[in-house]
Structures are given as C-alpha cells and as structure tokens.
Subunit: 319 residues, 2 copies
Amino acid sequence: MLLNMSSETKEERKLALVIHGGAGTISRALMSDEREAAYRAGLQQALRRGWEVLSGGGLALDAVEAAVCVMEDNPLFNAGRGSVFTHNERHEMDAAIMSGEDLRAGAVAAVDGIKNPIKLARRVMEATEHVLMCGSGAEEFAREAGFEFAPPEYFFDELRYEQLLQARREDEVRLDHTPLKKFGTVGAVALDTRGHLAAATSTGGMTNKRFGRVGDTALIGAGTYADDQTCAISCTGHGEFFIRTVAAHEIVSLMKYKGFTLKEAAEQVVHVTLPELGGEGGLIAVDRTGNISLPFNSEGMYRAWMTSGSEAQVAIYPD
Amino acid sequence: MLLNMSSETKEERKLALVIHGGAGTISRALMSDEREAAYRAGLQQALRRGWEVLSGGGLALDAVEAAVCVMEDNPLFNAGRGSVFTHNERHEMDAAIMSGEDLRAGAVAAVDGIKNPIKLARRVMEATEHVLMCGSGAEEFAREAGFEFAPPEYFFDELRYEQLLQARREDEVRLDHTPLKKFGTVGAVALDTRGHLAAATSTGGMTNKRFGRVGDTALIGAGTYADDQTCAISCTGHGEFFIRTVAAHEIVSLMKYKGFTLKEAAEQVVHVTLPELGGEGGLIAVDRTGNISLPFNSEGMYRAWMTSGSEAQVAIYPD
C-alpha cells in the first residue's frame, strides 16, 4: 500500500475513513470511565460499519452515509436520535452529504421527526435537482418520498431534556452538553477504491435553539465539502465561524491554489483562520491520496480513523 | 481619482457600487419598449439610492442594503414585493448580507410576509450571534424584533400568479419568468470611503417551488460574500450550481491564493467553473481598489453600476 500514489499508477489504491462525533470542552475530570467507554464503543461501531462498506469495494458516499447513520442512531451523539431539544421542545436537525466525483450535494436543514437526516440529504442529492431543503417543506418531501419518521419518544432522552430545562433557566443557547460541553455534530469523510472522495455531516443543533437557526453542517462549503481534485471535509464546532470563513471550501482552496498539503491547509483553518475570529472546533479531512488530518482547537474531539494497512484508532483528547 | 491605489495613499478613495436585478434568458424580441424602460428605471432608482449613501460618506453595508431594498419594493424584480409564488401560493424569500470589514454576515431563508428580507438578514447579523435563520423560526424572530410584515395582497401580482398557474399546468418548477425567463434575484456590492466592502442579495426563489428549497442567495460563500482583503460578490443564476462550486468564495480564493485579478477570477467562475457543471447565471463584484466586474453566461443580466468620477450605467444585454 503506497502513500501519495499518482492517479496513473496501477497499484492498489489506499482506502481511508475518518469519523468525528463532535468537538468541544471535553474535560477528563468530568468524564466517567463508563461514559468514555460508551463514546469509544460508539465511534468504533460507526467506523467499523463504514469500513465494511469501503473494504468491500463500496463507494465512499455509501461509507460516509453508513458511518453517520450509526452515530445518528446512537443517543450519545447529538444527531438523529440523540438530537438536543430546541426551545420549543422540538428537534431541528441539519445534515449534508457531498460526492467528490461530480460535486453533487444534498442537504436538509431544520427537519423534525426524521430518523436519519443524512439519508434524507442523500435523497435530496439523488432524486431532485436541488441541493438544500429546509423546515416543513423538507419534511413534506420526506413524507412523499416514503421516508421513515419516528415519534417524539424516539428522540426523547432524559439527559437532553434536563439540559434544555437547565438552559432555559439560565436563558441561554447551548451548543450541546454541559458540563461536558461539546459541539454536537457527527461526520465522516472517506476515500474509496475508485479514488472518489465523499463527506457527510449531521447534527441536532443547539440546546434551547430558537428562530430556525441553521449552522454550518447543512451548508455546502462551510461544514461539508468534497472534491476529488483535492479532499473531503466534515467540520464540527461553533458553526457561525465556519460559515463566515467558508471553512471547508477554504481548505480546498488552500490546497488547489496555494499548493498546501492537506495537513497544512486543515491546520491553517483550524489554528489560524478560525481562532482569528474567535471560532472554536475541529474537522476531519482526507485527501485524494488517502492522507488524513484531524485538527481541533478545542479541548477534545471525538474521533476515529482507519486507512489501508493500519489498525482502527479512536481518540477523544489531544494525543 | 486613481485606480488601484494602495491602501497607504492619502488620496481620496474610489467609491464603487454595482447592482443586479437577475440574469437569464432575456430575449430582446419578447421585451417590449415599455417593459425595458421600466426595468431600466427600476435599476437606476436602486443605483441612485445606494449611491446617495456611498457618496454621502456612508457605509458600503448601508449602501447595498438601501439599493436592494429599492428593488425588493419594486414588483418588477423577483425579491420582496415582486416575489414569485410557491406551489402552495405562498412566498418563500431568501436574503443575505455580509460585511467585508469583519466577515460578519446575516441571512434568512424561506421567510414569508416580510416586506424587506434584506433588512431582516441585517438584523440577524447585528442583533444575534447567528448567521442564518430559516422558515417559521426566522419569522418568529422578525415578529419579536418588531419587523414590518405585509399582508398577502402586498405580494400579489397578477403576472406572477399567472406564471404559477401556467407552471402548475406544465408541472414544473420555474426560475422566475417565462417567456422572459430570468433567474430572479437582486443584489448589490459596494466599496465605501473607508475602504470597506459589502455584499447583499435577495430573492423570491422559483415559481411553483416546493419542499422548502433554498438556493445560493442565503448561503454565505455561495451567492453572497465580502472580504475587505479581496472583494465583494453577489450572484444570480441557477442557484444549485453556485452552491456546489461555492461560487462567491471561489472568486475570493482565486484572488487571494492564485493572484488573479477581480476580472480574471470572476470570469473564470462564470465562464469556466459554472459552465463545466452546466450552471447558468452571472454575478457582480467589486474589489478593494474599486475595480468592478459583471460577467454573465446567460443571454442577459439586469445590471447597473457607478464609480467615482464616472456616470451611472444601466444595461440588460451583453455590450
């Protein structure tokens, strides 16, 4: 298995899969052993599911969707089933997916009741001429497309509800957990055997959120991007800063026009561009040759990765 | 008045304002003299209003908002009052505004009943920590902020309604007018005396639109962007292509990292990047020294511009 192989070589292509389960203030002192083990197991399960697709010769697009679905189904992560509560005790979920091969993309914003928003984003990409659908209109599309809706009980979680009540008392908007404050997003990026890249991101947004706020997750170029010429990216963090800097597309541009490596471009955005505005968070990225990068400027980021010929890795804190 | 003056010079800074009222198939054969005169007058009025702000020493941000408001109030343009009808006989308007000085941005998507969506986008930027609000949540924010709502009659236009009925009969989604097919968007970009750039874009979306589709207008980096280091951009066209290529931010990147001039970067995106995917439309742009560019790959683009020391210009077809 070779690194940095050119596209002309006949050798076996390197596969790569990276996933994240959110970044933020993840204090070791406040994290119980049980809880940490549960997060690690959740990440491992998602990584394994995505890797099965990739190593079986499947599409990067299918691998990132599969990995994200596993995290959407796990109440530990703020996406899908584990989504936090809005001010009105509802859920407003965002998700986006993008294919690096042809720059096709699909996304949904502020949807409620959808079991797997990432699947809905994929459907928008494949079954319509649109990229982004939002709110009740997106839910109507989901119903007509025969999508699986889940009742409010499916999304109910005692801890999440406690978080809402506490946030309301304190009258503030929270980016997911406290005291384990975390930017609740999940995401995946992959490179497949055909050399195609894909990225997927999904989130339940912010606890006590109001006014139909949409973060970077659903915005192509901000929280999610994939281009076979350069790389695939999925972000997690204080979304507004990722939108204002068009973070994912900025990494693509630094590689394409400034000649940066993936690592240089990803670290520039996470450690320079975002902090200059006060932006906190991280991202995962994979380039066309299978190099990966997982920088974050917060205390921790739930993450896992695997490439051809290397073991699966899971981490939460800085190395 | 000098072109390309460096920021160190003490000489008077060049002012620049460019506006657009949409791009698309604007056939001369189907355009009556009266209708053309009305469009020209509408553009002139919007340009004049924005220029009054700029030449009075006002902010680029105020100038672009003022110019866009004039077009939102004019039923000829597909934004604000003249917004096209959705499938459900409603209006779903999108708008975004961005300040090049500090990369602050505000946007709303799929809002109904708001007289001037661009003002609401500005309020999101200035009064909240968010960038994008959508749907009923954004309308709730507007109500709490004391925004002006207009009744359905305000937005009712016989021609627009006819267009909806016709589109429904033909069971398709229309990007604004037929037979004067046009991508209905309005926008403005400006450079002010302090050297700050700003961009604003507003749209009524697509006739017979369903499913809460959101185009590029409301997406920072796609249809709207401003950065004092490089330029300000407002796009108009088939929005999905502008989203997938992150068109506005791509121009910024080509200037910043590849050393392209504004004209080179804007033309690259409009005449190469977008057409490669099949994307039709145009954009307006102004750089930090007051150079302007207004490329489009469609048959026409409603546009007007003015810079220090030059007369106001209005055009619809290619020169």
